[in-house]
Amino acid sequence: MSKRVAIVGIGYSGFRTTSADLSYREMIFEAATKCYEDAGGIHPQSIDSFVASAEDFMEGISIADEYVPDQLGAVLKPVQTIAGDSIQGLASAVMQIKTGQQSIVATSAFSKVSNLSHYEHVAAYATDPAYIRPLNEHPYFIAGLEMNRYLYETGTTREQCATVVVKNKYNALANPSAVYGAKITIDDVIGGPLLSAPLGVLDVSGHLDGAIVLLLASEDKARELNDKPIWIKGIGWATDTPNLDSRIEGLGTAVYAKLAAEKAYAMAGITTPGNEIDFAEVDDTFSYKELQHLEALRLCGPGEAGKLLELGCFAATGDLPVNVSGGSLGVGYLHEANGLQRVLELVLQLRGEAGKRQLSGVETGLAFAWRGVPTATGAAVILSNRP
């Protein structure tokens, strides 16, 4: 079980609000081809196993996992789909290698949310049919409840949440794959239309189509495939009760994030994450989530995230750059592929291939994904360019 696992290939395609010119198969084929080329031009016949992450309801196809093989070169190979965020899928791929079952595993996720006419309906269908859905509320009301309680419990301000939006959309301007980049002000965010107060329209990340494929390998294979392997140091995930009205620590706290990260830190041997993590890509589906998650991940103390943000600590130039990619607010929201988008940014930064937004001297990064409302599932992974 001591086998080390590295990411040896990355490929992505799409990253557009619509992608009417390509089927999901064609979009994923492009990402997979780039990924395999990035891993020394490996042919998929040499890949042992494939793990996808998807949610059938988003795709409008029951048992969508059966549609995974062709576009990954996985026909007649071991294939599985994880119904969860793609960091959970990544964890499954890591386990396949750590157990010695497989040596080289590809993992993929995509979003074709532009093909879904009413995302709100799918999100509403995730709430309990007997005691939540009859209220007939737009599903983002849950985010409004969470945000309000988080601000109340921690003293974080509305302005601090707006600052997350300003920061991430600004960061996105340096990322060619980010479509929601903008230079806006705190007043723009707060003065924008309300959604479910205190949550406003600009506090919510916008939808995005895209596909991401990563290739993982055991240590002995990794160095053959890529001279810049990025090591997976720790990974963990956790789920709270689905009951919105009786979450273990209430709606103000992201306890799932805390538990997922603790697992990942323990595996990576990290005891003081604030000192040992150089930069992070952290779920920012809604503005307040970035702050709430940073605290739950112990990257700062409880209730401190907003103040540190205002001091510039989480800016690209700060002590702990957070969402230098632009995050979901700047790049766009890829649904179950969100996790791999965050992992992709970690790999680019740790390889030194992040272009204009390259951070200097980074060795260890953390990616954290949340499955969005109404879920209480989070997954964390720690990557490093040192074995």
Partner: protein
């Protein structure tokens, strides 16, 4: 517990109990719509069906004529080499005589059974074909390897759908 709990005494629930509201159920119906991007390959395929033609793609690496057409070969994982028109004739690979509608309701007395079949299209690689219905044939006359030809909808009724072919009939 102080209150006496009412138990049914082993009487099974009836459909009537449910419909009369004796048993609480919560009902909601699915309301979501999708519009799937067909992409380059299937877009061209459907466009050509509207024109009354069947088009496939070729993989020169594997020597395959692939139908339905695809932009890449799922076996060698290389982009397809190009487009080729193929015939609208073929042979029956497998078939079934279907006595139920899609929702599992039985066909009525006198209604003809549905005849879904996999047709290996002439010009496509062995084993590659399309799923369609058979027509103008008695179920008991259908044979494996039977030669068939597409019966198209009139041009002005075609919409760019696989149903632009009404069915395949024996030749």
């Amino acid at each position: 517990m102080q209150e006496k709990v009412h138990v049914s005494g082993g009487t099974a629930l009836s459909e009537q109990d449910v419909h009369s509201g004796e048993i609480f159920m919560t009902e909601d119906s699915l309301d979501c719509a999708f519009a799937w991007d067909t992409g380059v390959a299937i877009n061209r395929y459907l466009t050509e069906l509207k024109n009354g033609r069947i088009i496939a793609t070729e993989c020169r690496h594997c020597n395959r004529i692939m139908l339905p057409p695809r932009l890449f070969c799922e076996l060698c994982f290389k982009p397809s080499s190009g487009w080729v028109y193929i015939n609208d004739t073929g042979v029956v690979n497998t078939f079934s005589i279907c006595h139920v509608h899609w929702d599992a309701s039985r066909i009525k007395e006198g209604e003809k059974p549905y005849l879904p079949a996999v047709i290996e299209i002439d010009g496509a690689s062995a084993g590659m074909g399309i799923m369609q219905l058979l027509g103008e044939v008695e179920p008991e006359k259908i044979k494996f390897g039977m030669k068939v030809k597409a019966v198209w909808k009139p041009e002005n009724e075609r919409t760019g759908s696989i149903t632009d072919i009404k069915y395949f009939k024996p030749i």
